[in-house]
Amino acid sequence: MGPRSADAWARVLAALRASPAAFVARAGAEALAAELLSELRSERLSEPTKVSLLAAILEFPTQLWPDPTAAEAAVSALLDTLALLPPRPAALRRPLLLAATSVLASCGALAPASAATSRLLCVLLRAAAGRAAGPEQRAVRATACECLRELESCHPGLLAGQLGLLRALQDTLGTQAHCLLFVLTLRDALGALARAGPGAPAGLHGLPDSPGAQWPGPWDWSLAGEDVRDPAAPVGREGGRPEPSAGPLDLTPPEARELRAAVSQLLDASYLLTPPAQAQMLQQLSQVLRTVRGQPPALLKPQLVRLLGTARVSLLHAVLASKDAFGEALFTAQDEALLLRRLVGAAQHPALPSPARLFCLHCLLHFPENWPLGPAGEEGTPVLLTPSLATGLLPSLLQDPPDLLARLHLLCLLCGEELGADGRRDCQGTEDQVLLYLQGLLASLRQGAAQPGAPRSSVTLCFRASYLATRCLASHPGALAQLTKGLAELYQARPCLAPHFVDLLEQAGEVLAEPLGKALQQVAVAGAGGAQALQWHLQILTKVAGGQPLGPTLGFLWAALGQGGDWAWEQALLGACRALLRGTDLSGAGPRNLANLLQELARGLDDPDSRDRGRLYYSLFTHLSGSKLGSALGPTRSTPMLGSSLVEENEGFASALTVQEAQAPLQLRRVPQQAKEPPVILGLTVEASEILYSLELRFRVLGPHYEPLEAVQVPCLRPGASPKLLLLPLEPRRPYPTLLDVSVLYATPGGLTCYAQLPSLPIAFADLFLPLPPPSPEVTHPPTFQELWASCLPGGAESCMWGPWQGQALETLVTKHWEPFVMSATPPTSYRVAIRLPPSSQLLLQLEAAGEDGVRVALRTDDWAILPLAGEYLRGLGATL
C-alpha cells in the first residue's frame, strides 16, 4: 500500500471515527499505528493533515496500541518526531505533546520502569518551565502544564517530588495552567502523605520555594500511587479524596505556615482564572485544607462571597461543595440561610437557562445542611426551606415537563413534611390550599392525557406526576381517593394507556396499588371502550385480578371468550386466568366457575399451544392446594429478561423440578493419610456453611491414569458440626500426579436440588507413596536394599543428584517425608529409602551426607517413566528448605 494522500487520510480517519473497533479489526491496529507514526514525519503531508492524524492518535490510542509495550514505543516515536521539528514555530508541537501524553496515560504505559515515561516527563517539565515570551511559546508552556496535569490525574502523586519546582513556576509565571498544575499536585501529594500515615518518608519537603532544585534528576516514585485512587470513599461522596483512617495529616508548624501561605496566594490569584478553572481550583483547595489538620477553612471565605453572586452553575456548585466539606466551620447559620435563598432565587431565575435552573433545584433537594435531619444521600427539603420561601417554585401546567416534574417533586416533598406533622394545626389553611393546588394540577394533567390524540409524552408526564404525588398523599386518604378516581376515569376514557397503568401499579407501592387496582378492575370488567379495548382490559386484569373478587372478572372472561381472537388474544386470556389462579379469593362458587372456564379454554381455544396451557392450568388448579398453586405459578426473580410468557411464568414451577446450578456452600480439605498397603487413601473432610441433605459427592480423576472413583453419599451436613471425614481409595494405573475434579449434588431445606462445582484437588506424586509390602510368610529372606537396588537395572533407570540439605536438615527431611520407607540408616549421615508406587513400581533412594555442603542422592527405579517425576519431587523438597 503506497502512501496516502491528505484526502485519503481524511477518509481513513472518518471511517476510524465512525466505528473504531470495526475499522481497527479490518485494517489491523499494528499496521495502521505504524503508518500513522511514519506519516507524521513525511514531508508530503501538510501540517493540518498531520494535526488531524495526531487528533486521531489523541482520541483512539487504546484501539491503536492495545498493548503497553507497543504504546511505549509509540510514545518514543512521537517524542523523536518532536525532537526533529525545526526550532521555528510549528503547529505540530502542541498536538505532539498532547498525543504522547494521551498514549502514555491511557494505554497503561505510565510506569517507573518505562523509559518513555521519564523521557516525556523531562520534555514536559522543561517545556513547562520555559521562559521564552511569544504566543507560540506561551501556548506550548500551557500545553505542557496540561499534559503534566493529566498524567498527575491518572497517576496521583506522580509529580509530588516536583512540588518545589512547580511552586516556583507558579510564583514566577503565574499563569492559569501553572496554578492548576500546582494545586492538583499539592492536593495529591498531601493525599499521598495522609494515606502513608505517620511513617511517611518525608513531609512536604518540596513546598518551600527552592528554585532550580531537583530536576530533572532521577524520578521519585515513592509517593506515586498505583493508579487513580481506589474509590473507597463513603457512599454519596466522590471517590478517594483523602479521608484516611489515620485522620488528617499533621504538618510541622513551618510546613503548615508555608502551606497556608501557598493556599492564600492561590486564592488571591483565583480571580484571574477562567470560571471553570476557578471552580476546579476551589474544589481542590478545599480538599487540600481538609487533608491537613488545623488549616482553617476561613481562608476560603473572601472568595466564596465573590462567587456566591455569580450566575455560573460551576461556581455555585463549587461553593456548595465547600459547604458540604466544611459545614459550620465555614458557613454560619446565617450564611447557610443566605446560600439557600440564593439557591432558591437561582432555581426560579428567568434569566438562567432551564437546565441550570433545574440543577439548582436538584441542589436544593440535596442541600448540604449544617445539621441535616434526614438520612444522608436521600432527597429532602432543607429545614430552612419553608413553603413561603418556595412559593416561587410552584409547578404550573405551562412549564416544560422536566421543570414541572422537578417543581412538583419539591412541592410533594414539602407537602409530605407538612402533612406528616400532625401537631401543626395553625398551618391547616395553607396545607389545604397546597393540596387543592396539587389536585388541580394532577387533574389538568389527566385531562391532557385523556385527549384522544394526546402524544405519549403528555401521557408519560401525567403518570410521572401521579407517581410523585402518591408519595406525599399517602397520609391523605381523601386526596388519594380522588387521585384513584381520576386515574380510573382516565383509564375509562383511554384503555390503551393500560401499559402505563400496569407500570404505575408496579412502581407506586401498596398505598396506590390497592385502591387503584380495585377501581381499574371495575372499569375493565365493565368493558369500557368496546372490543378494541379488550386486549388492554386483559392486560389490566392480569395485573390486578388476583387481589379482587373472582365473580366479576370471571363474568368478563366468559364474555370475552365468546368473541374469539388470535394467538396473542388467547395468551392474554390465559394470562388473566393465571392471575386468578394465583389470587386469594377462592371461596364460594368462584372456584367451580373458574374450573369450568379453564376447562372451556382447554377445549375451545383455537391454538393447540393455548389449549395445552389451559389444560395445564386446569390440572394444576384441580390438583394443587392454594399455596402450592401460588408458588407453582409464581414469578421468579432470577430471570426477568425472558421473552416468552410461557417460559417466564412456568419458571417458578419448573425451578422446583430441575437441578439448580449453585455456588458450593461447602468446603473440602485434605487431611494426611498414610496407608500401609494399596490402595492409596486420600483423606478429605467436608464442612458445610448451611444445612444440606442427601449429598452426593462426585469425583473424577482427570487423565487416563486412574481407575474411576465411586461417588460418596452423605445423608446430611450441618454447619458447626464436626467435619465429615471421607476416605477415597485411589487406584492409579500409572503413578502420575493428577487433578481431582469434584462436584456435588444436594438438596436444600427449601426443597430445591442443587448442583455445584467445587475447586479441583491436586493429587501429588508424594501422595502415592506406599511402603514396600511386608514379606510374605513363605519367603524366608526378604530382599535386602542392595538386592532391590541391583534388581532395578537394566529394566529401569538411575540418576544422581545433589541435595542442598546441610547439617541436621537431612535427618529432619527423612523424618518428615520418608519415615515409613526407610530400610536402613546410619543417622544422621546415611539413609536408604525404598518407596512403592502403585500399581507396580518402586523408587529407591540412597542419601549420603557429603560433609557440610549437602547430600548426595542416588536414585534408582524399575520404571524409567517415573524418573523425571522423582527428580522434580526431590528438587521441590530442596526448594522448600
Binding site: T62, T101, A142, V235, L272, E379, A406, T460, Y467, H500
Partner: protein, 461 residues
C-alpha cells in the same frame, strides 16, 4: 472533574435515522479513570451510531412513539436537570447530560469518581457543573452568527481545533468558545493577566452599557388563581479600555418609586458585591425597607461584550392588562378581547401584537371581527389571529376586539393540537417592545460609570 466524551447531534425529523452525529470527541485518559473509579458498574462509551440512536429514542425524537417502552416511559424514570440514562448493550450509560437547542443536541458524559451501582446525587459529581459550563459555552458558540447549514458546518469543522485548546484532555479550561484566533487564546495568557482576557485593547477608550428588561405575565381573571407578572433584566456591557486590568464600577440607580432589583446574578469578573445586593431576593415580602440601590458593580472587564448582571423585579402592576372571553355558540366561537395599557408605561412601542391561537379545532374558515384600533391578520391554516396594535395605544389607552370565528372541524390533521387548551381553555399572547424604557425605572447614566484607567472614555448607555 472531567468529561468522558462530548457529542453534537443534529435532530433531523423525517429522515430514516432521525438525526446524525455531527461531531464527537472521546477522552481516553478520562475513560481509563472512569474504568477504575466505576469498577464493576463501569459502562463503556458506545460508538457514535448506537449512541445517536439511544439518545434520540430517550429524548423521544424518533417517530416510533407508538408503544410503551419501560426504559423511556416508565413513571419512576424521571430524568433530573437534563441528565439521562441511556440503555446501551443491556447496561445503562449514566449520567448523560443532553441539552437541546435549535435542532441540535449538545451532549456530554461527565466522569463520576465513584461507583455507579446506585446513581449518586448529581450534586456530588464534580464534573457535572463543568459539563453544564461546557455545553452552555458550545450553545453560545453555535447560536452566534447566522444559523445556516453552511455556518453550522464551518463551526463543526472548527470544533476539533477549538477543543484541542479549550478542553484537550476532557477537563474544561475555559467556557468561552467565541474566539477570534487560537494563537492569542486568553488561556495562554501572559503572566499576571486574567485568563479570561485575551490580550489588551489599544484604541479609543469607550464603555457601552445597555439595560434590557423583559416582562412575563399571566393573567387569569379568576378569583382562585392569582395573576402573575415578573420583570427580569439583563445589563450588557462592552468596555474598550486600555491597560492590563482597568477597573470599572457601574452603579444602577432607581427612581424614588422604582421597584427594587432582586435575585441579582453577576458575571464572574465582578470583584465584590455589597451584602445588600447579595441578599435582595424575590422570596422576601416586599416592603419599603427593601434596598433600592444604588447597585454598585466593580469589575475588570473582559475584552468582549458580556452580561454584567441579571436581575428580577416585582413591579406593582403589569404594563398591559388584558381581558379575553370565548364563547362557543353552535359551530362558531364568539371572542372578545380588551387590552389596557397602564398609564405609567411609556406609550411608544417598537411593535405590539396580540396573538390569538385556536387549538384542536381545525383551520379557520370564516372570521367576522370589529376592532377599536389596529388591524387583524388571519393565518387560516395555522388557526391563528394576529392583532397588530402598532406603535401606540390610543389616548384612552384601552382597545377592544370582538368577532366570531368558524372552523372546518373535519380538516383536523395538520392543525395545532394542544393538550392544555381544550374546550374553553385558551389564551391571548402579547408581544411588544418599548425602546429606551425600563419598567423598573432602573437606569445607568454618564455619572454612574466610574473608570479607573488612563484616558477619558466615551460612555454610552
Amino acid at each position: 472533574m472531567a468529561q468522558r466524551a462530548i457529542w453534537l447531534v443534529s435532530h433531523e425529523p423525517g429522515t430514516p435515522h432521525g438525526g446524525t452525529v455531527r461531531f464527537s470527541r472521546r477522552y481516553p485518559t478520562v475513560e481509563k479513570r472512569a474504568k477504575t473509579f466505576n469498577g464493576s458498574s463501569y459502562v463503556p462509551l458506545p460508538e457514535d451510531d448506537p449512541f445517536c440512536k439511544a439518545l434520540l429514542f430517550e429524548l423521544r425524537l424518533l417517530d416510533d412513539d407508538k408503544d410503551f417502552v419501560e426504559s423511556r416511559d416508565g413513571c419512576s424514570r424521571i430524568s433530573k436537570a437534563s441528565v439521562y440514562g441511556l440503555p446501551i448493550g443491556g447496561k445503562e450509560l449514566w449520567p448523560v447530560l443532553a441539552l437541546q437547542k435549535n435542532g441540535l443536541i449538545y451532549v456530554s458524559v461527565p466522569l463520576v469518581e465513584q461507583t455507579l451501582s446506585a446513581h449518586p446525587p448529581l450534586i456530588s459529581i464534580s464534573g457535572i457543573s463543568q459539563a453544564f459550563d461546557l455545553l452552555f459555552g458550545l450553545i453560545d458558540f453555535f447560536d452566534s452568527g447566522p444559523r445556516t447549514e453552511a455556518d453550522l458546518s464551518t463551526k463543526v469543522s472548527q470544533l476539533p481545533d477549538l477543543l484541542l485548546h479549550i478542553c484537550p484532555f476532557g477537563t474544561l479550561l475555559d467556557s468561552n468558545f467565541l474566539l477570534d484566533n487560537f494563537s492569542n487564546l486568553s488561556i495562554y495568557q501572559a503572566p499576571k493577566q486574567p485568563a479570561w482576557k485575551a490580550g489588551t485593547y489599544k484604541g479609543k477608550p469607550q464603555v457601552a452599557v445597555s439595560i434590557t428588561e423583559k416582562v412575563k405575565s399571566m393573567q387569569y381573571d379568576k378569583r382562585e388563581v392569582a395573576d402573575m407578572w415578573q420583570v427580569y433584566g439583563t445589563i450588557t456591557c462592552k468596555c474598550d479600555l486600555e491597560g492590563v486590568m482597568p477597573n470599572v464600577t457601574i452603579s444602577l440607580n432607581l427612581p424614588t418609586n422604582g421597584s427594587p432589583l432582586q435575585d441579582i446574578l453577576v458575571h464572574p469578573c465582578v470583584t465584590s458585591l455589597d451584602s445588600a445586593v447579595l441578599t435582595s431576593s424575590s422570596v422576601d415580602i416586599m416592603d419599603d425597607s427593601a434596598f433600592s440601590g444604588p447597585y454598585k458593580f466593580p469589575f475588570t472587564p473582559p475584552l468582549e461584550s458580556f452580561h454584567l448582571c441579571y436581575y428580577t423585579s416585582q413591579v406593582p402592576v403589569p404594563p398591559i392588562l388584558g381581558f379575553y372571553q370565548l364563547k362557543e355558540e353552535d359551530s362558531q366561537l364568539k371572542i372578545t378581547v380588551h387590552l389596557k395599557l397602564h398609564e405609567s408605561v411609556k406609550n411608544c412601542f417598537e411593535y405590539c401584537e396580540a396573538h390569538i391561537p385556536f387549538y384542536n379545532r381545525g383551520p379557520i374558515t370564516h372570521l367576522e371581527y370589529k376592532v377599536s384600533f389596529g388591524q387583524v391578520e388571519v393565518l387560516r391554516e395555522k388557526s391563528l389571529l394576529i392583532w397588530i396594535i402598532g406603535q401606540k395605544f390610543p389616548k384612552s389607552l384601552e382597545i377592544n376586539l370582538s368577532g366570531t370565528v368558524n372552523f372546518n372541524t373535519m380538516g383536523h390533521q395538520k392543525q395545532p393540537v394542544d393538550t392544555i387548551c381544550i374546550g374553553g381553555t385558551t389564551y391571548v399572547k402579547l408581544y411588544f417592545r418599548i425602546p429606551d424604557y425600563t419598567l423598573t425605572g432602573c437606569y445607568a447614566d454618564q455619572h454612574s460609570v466610574q473608570v479607573f484607567a488612563s484616558g477619558k472614555p466615551k460612555i454610552t448607555t
